[in-house]
């Protein structure tokens, strides 16, 4: 799990401590669901956003 408070401080974000605690709590809740999903990702799966060299090829 990420230490969201340390991350915010390392990035120099100007967020007061009470607000930071609240945001860190929300991100921890999200991470609890999200992180296990990532563990099972197959290697060959591309992201759903794909760059097209020729924009006219867009679906």
């Amino acid at each position: 799990m990420n230490d969201w408070t340390a991350l915010a401080q390392a990035r120099g974000l100007k967020i007061d401590n009470r607000e930071l605690d609240r945001i860190a709590g929300l991100l921890r809740s999200l991470e609890q669901v999200f992180r296990p999903l990532v563990r099972d990702l197959p290697h060959g799966l591309d992201p759903a956003i794909t760059f097209r060299a020729n924009p006219e090829d867009a679906e």
């Binding site: 609240r22 990702l41 924009p55 867009a58």
Partner: protein, 479 residues
Amino acid sequence: MTLRKAAQALRERRLSSVELTKAALERIDRLNPALNAFLTVLPERALHRAAQADRELAAGKDRGPLQGIPIALKDLFDMRGVHTTAGSLIYQDYIPDRDSAVVEKLEAAGAVILGKLNLHELAYGITSANPHYGAVHNPWNLERIPGGSSGGSGAAVAAEMVFAAMGSDTGGSIRAPAALCGTVGLKPTYGRVSRFGAIPLAFSLDHMGPLAGDVRDTAIVLNTIAGFDPRDSGSARHPVMDYVPEEGCSIRGLRIGFPEMFFFERLDPDVDAAVRGGIARATSLGAEVVPVRLPDMAAVNAVGLVIQLAEATAVMERYLEQRELFGADVLELLDQGRLLPAVDYINAQRLRRGMQNEFHRVWQSVDCLITPATPIPAPRIGETMIRVAGSEENVRAAVTRLMRSWNVLGLPAISIPCGLSATSLPLGLQIVGPPFEESLVLRVAAALEDAGVAIPRCSSRYPNSRRYDRAGAHAAIGK
């Protein structure tokens, strides 16, 4: 009066567009002080367009059913020369020098745009309690939220200020106001309606779509706005069709998926009963209701949230040093987005691809799904936590819980009114279909509506609008 009846009356010269437009403007004058649905009203421009529509119809130039019909737009669609705020201080002085694709198409069809509608700040939330432009109030109960982020659109349609309105939907923002205000709201397939000229919230989740008083009126607007647009990188070349369901359309033999797990857990009992009633009606119409087990929808929602947090902050990051520009709830979301690692965003988009593949299999066993739209009726303005089926839940999380996944998967989803709560608040039933099957989703919705899955019009409860007038002072407090 429905949009279709108004269109017919215009063609039979029983009404003129100028008369319709004046009546709508008078209604806005009377009701908007209480509802705060409109941010900008354009009377001169609208009356000019209405007169043009009347002249054209008299000369035999028929642009289709939207010609001469008063409508309005969520205030994030660019309209040349008209303030477009996105409900934010960042855009308070923004006057576009171009039209969004949606405005181009609506005006080409002769629609009369009456103005721009209030919304949740930056379309980033579901209460429409805008800290800068005032809260939008639910026409069914002024102390309740209209839902959001297209709250002004839901309120304006429900109060019959306009025949239809445009909204946008990133995690439920068309369907939530439709459900909570008792209108129909359609989120089309991703790529079906151009995003060009709409102020973005999250590029890969944003969908543009209509809200209207009934299913066929909603389909008429979709007919006008659907289609490929090379200016939108996500736009689809998939062919468009006539989306308006025929009168007496049938759903006999259709396989309707009933995903009890996840979608029927933690519901307000009134919602549960009303949506199950709608499903029973589908059975009585000859549809085959099939219990279906879906992929992990909580996981789909989590993936959607990671994507939304990252994309929204990418748009807004350059303004984030000016914290006074943002309301507290929006700032909280934007700050979360600043902390998410890029790797999480990429992996969320990879997971999304996998979920999309997984979901293709669902459509082999059913033709569409029916679920509740929101698990609760409209919460009170200012409420941040709500009790649902015995447990406390954040209002934003609750309202989006059954809708966000369809943005992640890009699937067409509609909310139709299916009943009233014990507190006389509207409840929404959601129909979801495979990609680009808007016509199927609309057909199921129309068949249910024809069979009585509907509610009385909001305005019929307050025909002389005295309730709104009395509440004017209360509404002003929210400004």
